[in-house]
């Protein structure tokens, strides 16, 4: 069990992966941002940034919206009585959250979790009542608004027994907040028979450092789908979310799409522990290196009979600068498991480009089509808005049109 003193000692503990960030270089962001009464009132610039990360600046087609600026809530609205959506500091006053707080993520893990623990950070609390199915997604938006500041958030999602939910979370920076730090701790609980689809879209500035820390506990026959997309320049992202399939028949699917621009350092990992019989997991990562440092890690751990898991890391390298590293790992402590992985790093196959050119596409069009297919192929059921983002990113990065 953690106590405050132990956690404090972790304030200097570097993360296992990724470049180290000195927390003292950043001021803690404000806990009392400007309140937004109507989501339609936010500035056009912010609106545009929201849309780019899949967040709609309106209530239609969303079951709820929560909007954080820096460290505090700016706007909350829930459209469904089956859904609780509120800042976690408020939720903690209403409920005893001790069985959820710091139970899926260890606060002493590293300096980022430690800081979030000691700050007692705010964040979103989302809970779906047992047996209820929330029809349209809940959207959360995290705006890092000030330069040289640190955003610390602590989020909790609870999908009760036999309930289902989709969450889209978009994280972005304000106009001038180029050199800031985002730290987000997310603890997710999908209880027996529940289902959660969680999509996170990041669109930061080229000097932003990003350290998400996520843990998810999945119950019997429950389902967790997690998508992650980052297409624009960023200073560094280092993330290694963990999922614990603790209930029999639970499943998890992780997909990520990353573009590693020049000057960006992206270290994306993913751990799934298959702790109960008959659990299954799939990790799919698709990345493109354009001169940055791009690391894709994946680790599957099988600890019960009848476990099935697959890991796929594919990376396209488009120029000689930068570095691409794929680290797939499989670990098992029992005999009756079926765990596989495949990893591929390479350039775009010339014969594929020529095949499309043979049909009359220009070389740029052919490359664009292959790259788009490569990225989109990693995530099934990609929302149309995000398809457009991928097209835009491909056009902007000059990967063909």
């Amino acid at each position: 069990m953690q106590n405050g003193k132990d956690v404090k000692e972790s304030l200097n503990k570097k993360a296992n992966y990724g470049p180290d960030v000195n927390l003292d270089d950043y001021k803690v962001g404000t806990y009392t941002p400007e309140i937004t009464n109507d989501i339609d009132d936010v500035s056009d610039d912010v609106k545009k940034r929201m849309v780019n990360v899949g967040v709609m600046p309106c209530k239609t087609s969303r079951s709820g919206t929560i909007f954080f600026i820096d460290n505090g809530p700016s706007y909350v609205s829930s459209e469904s009585k089956d859904l609780e959506l509120l800042p976690i500091r408020e939720a903690a006053k209403k409920y005893d959250l001790s069985e959820y707080l710091w139970k899926a993520v260890d606060p002493g893990k590293d300096k980022y979790t430690s800081k979030t623990y000691l700050e007692d950070s705010d964040g979103y609390f989302i809970r779906v009542k047992a047996g209820k199915h929330i029809k349209t997604p809940v959207q959360t938006c995290m705006l890092l608004n000030r330069n040289k500041q640190m955003q610390n958030l602590h989020n909790i999602i609870i999908v009760e027994e036999n309930a289902s939910l989709e969450v889209i979370t978009g994280c972005t920076t304000g106009k001038h907040a180029h050199e800031s730090l985002h730290v987000g701790v997310s603890e997710t609980y999908v209880k027996d028979g529940g289902s959660l689809k969680f999509s996170m879209i990041h669109n930061w500035s080229q000097g932003t450092h990003v350290r998400p820390r996520s843990g998810c506990i999945v119950g019997r026959n429950a389902k967790f789908v997690n998508n992650y997309i980052i297409l624009n320049k960023v200073g560094s992202v280092q993330s290694y979310p963990a999922t614990y399939l603790n209930g029999e028949g639970a499943s998890a699917k992780y997909s990520s799409i990353c573009l590693g621009h020049e000057g960006s350092d992206i270290d994306m990992g993913c751990l799934v522990e298959l702790n109960a019989p008959g659990t299954s997991a799939e990790i799919i990562s698709r990345s493109i290196t354009l001169g940055g440092r791009m690391v894709a890690r994946g680790r599957l751990v099988g600890r019960a009979p009848g476990v099935k898991a697959h890991l796929e890391c594919r990376s396209l390298v488009l120029n000689d600068a930068g570095l691409t590293l794929a680290v797939p790992e499989l670990e098992s402590t029992v005999a009756d498991v079926e765990m596989t992985h495949e990893a591929a790093v390479g350039k775009i196959a010339r014969d594929q480009v020529e095949y499309l050119m043979m049909r009359g596409l220009t070389e740029d069009e052919a490359v664009g089509m292959i790259v788009r297919g490569f990225l989109e192929g990693g995530i099934s059921g990609l929302p149309p808005e995000l398809k457009k983002d991928i097209d835009d990113a491909i056009a902007k990065a000059n990967l063909g049109s």
């Binding site: 014969d351 020529e354 050119m357 043979m358």
Partner: protein, 244 residues
């Protein structure tokens, strides 16, 4: 339509074609026979401009334009189309999306059922396609492309008996595009075939035998096919060389 002069082509650091001369007239269908590995596919690839073949000597003239060093897509836009023997898999790109881009509208995707490809439109191009499915997919793409000169690399190989008529019919439609009644073919073709089955559907004007990187002889397609069937390539070529 197409005139090839003294063409030398290397692939994988080896000289495969050693001085090919060939002329194909407007609306004509020519057939290319030859044993495995003789360089038939390499010749088609060189006409299309695929990167793995390097032209070291000679030239290819298409409709009066020297295309020997022209990029592939420009050749395609000039009206050259090709059905590959073994096209690559394109993971992530749906057949439907490519056909749409080629035809610039939905007119051909809507006709996919004619090619028995309607269930394949949402599939990644060529991924897990059977032999016959690959050929039908190639034909669907070519139909969208509307080429004026088609290169067909073994259109019937790997196609089961049931599909062969469909493949034959669709190749025929490709060659008689926009043609009414008996006006003849409007599209020229160079076809590689081992069995000659495809010729029952499209007819052919002239045939050539390629061996050792040279065109060894030419003649009426039915005559050559009969000789090859009866005596095999080696003897057939020898015999005809003597006659020539």
């Amino acid at each position: 339509m197409l005139k090839i002069k003294d063409l030398h082509v290397e692939a994988g650091g080896k000289e495969i074609l050693r001085g090919i001369n060939l002329e194909i007239m407007d609306g004509q269908t020519s057939v290319l026979f030859g044993p495995n590995g003789s360089g038939k596919s390499t010749l088609l690839a060189a006409i299309m401009g695929l990167g793995h073949c390097k032209v070291t000597k000679g030239n290819i003239v298409y409709n009066g334009v020297d295309i020997t060093n022209m990029p592939i897509d420009e050749r395609a836009r000039m009206g050259i189309g090709m059905m590959m023997q073994r096209p690559p898999n394109i993971v992530g790109v749906k057949l439907k999306d490519l056909v749409r881009v080629i035809s610039k509208d939905d007119s051909v995707t809507d006709r996919a059922n004619e090619f028995r490809m309607d269930n394949f439109l949402e599939r990644d191009i060529n991924v897990g396609f059977s032999g016959g499915e690959i050929k039908r997919s190639e034909l669907l793409q070519l139909t969208a492309q509307k080429p004026k000169f088609v290169l067909l690399d073994e259109p019937e190989s790997g196609v089961d008996l049931e599909s062969i008529d469909l493949v034959g019919k669709k190749v025929r439609e490709l060659l008689y595009e926009d043609s009414h009644c008996d006006l003849g073919k409007t599209v020229s073709a160079l076809v590689i075939t081992h069995t000659g089955q495809i010729l029952d559907h499209i007819g052919a004007d002239r045939a050539y035998i390629l061996n050792d990187g040279h065109i060894k002889c030419s003649g009426r397609p039915t005559d050559l096919l009969k000789d090859i069937r009866e005596r095999g390539y080696k003897e057939c070529i020898q015999c005809r060389m003597v006659k020539m």
